[in-house]
Symmetry: C2
Subunit: 257 residues, 2 copies
Amino acid sequence: VSQLPLEPAAASDAKLKLLLAYDGTDFRGFVAQPAVRTVEGVLTSALERMLPAPVSLSCAGRTDAGVHAWGQVVTCPAPVTLDPQRVQRSLNAQLGPEVVVRTAELVDRVFDARHSARARSYRYTIVNRDQPDPFLSRYAWWVPGSLDRTLLRLAADPFVGEHDFASFCRRGPVGSTTVRRVRSSTWCELGDGILRYDVTADAFCWQMVRSIVGTLVDAGRGKVRPGDVTGILARRDRAAAGVIAPAHGLCLWAVAH
Amino acid sequence: VSQLPLEPAAASDAKLKLLLAYDGTDFRGFVAQPAVRTVEGVLTSALERMLPAPVSLSCAGRTDAGVHAWGQVVTCPAPVTLDPQRVQRSLNAQLGPEVVVRTAELVDRVFDARHSARARSYRYTIVNRDQPDPFLSRYAWWVPGSLDRTLLRLAADPFVGEHDFASFCRRGPVGSTTVRRVRSSTWCELGDGILRYDVTADAFCWQMVRSIVGTLVDAGRGKVRPGDVTGILARRDRAAAGVIAPAHGLCLWAVAH
């Protein structure tokens, strides 16, 4: 009779789940990379003072350089004896206010921030005024000139549903699909020329939201007709869509698990 | 018959009036000082490329290091032939979005940003939540813990009217008065724990708003009773008031001329 493999040590009998907000300005994105400052990098270093190394994080949204988060979710294996409130206090003391742990809890080890996520919501903010705004310049794309609100809304509608988003994605790994299901795609005007675009999907491919926003702004400027969006989707060609909106206007808003 | 003094040259027959917004985070205040970065310093350098040097600015509010402005007003002598829109475009291209010229116009030379100002309004923002907010940390004071809204409002009322604010001012030049007339002193809650204190007066003495806010927060925490504010004013002693709230929550909101 062969020996059964040992159960994982008690050290990883649970998962630590963190709800994170961060200002992405001074990070080269979420995912750890050698020799550059990333959110995962600073978070892992701080967690390794409290958890058995190496700490391996899973995240719901792999935000790019300069992209912010209000509702990022990350998980990592953790002992059931860990006090999540102590972890939250320690992380916020070390990393706040640039990276803030909004909530921390222990969850079942089958839960995974990435694989258990059912939907992600991103928010893109635009300031449509003649002059930029010093207080929003880190968190919103300044778009001067005329931007037709009706055209913005009409152009946002065709994205809803299941589509191949190849026209709105940078190429991923060979063989990976660019089919995604968008649940909602809406604009909201806050006044003072501040416009918010909220989009929710099961998942997003690389630079998809920024690419959609670039095309929407082209529609608002009258350079693309809302009726053309369906055709741009159908071409499944990155060259068919407009410019990619800058990273600093984008924020990973919420994740549904 | 003695000669009449010559009229000023045509070069200064008018004034340039700028309405400015700036993020004060990386400035050592408005007023130019040797060897440090100030708003007046960068603005004067940029203006001296367009106007006869030396450029001498007058400003409505001498904001301290780290204090922001949405509605700062500055003036300087300028030729009547100057195109203010060209100045605005050039300044915004050089200094934006950290310093933004919201409007630029030529005005009569008797107008002066400082001496013609009839009232200044400052806004102080507080985030009253358990955890800090990465997107508001540059522009709001994070105050965790309980903060009673009713006590905040009751404590703000006694500041209205003409008072000697010696208890709420750092000492100015010898012989200068600390008597000021406060026109309004109000709190507004924006939701999500964001609180705004708006105060308008004919003028403010040094660190007066931050000193008032420090005492108001003490009242909200139950450390000072609203009824004590009148007595603190009457003592005319800096030691009678509470801590000075941090600079980064303060913004020069508007100036009435």
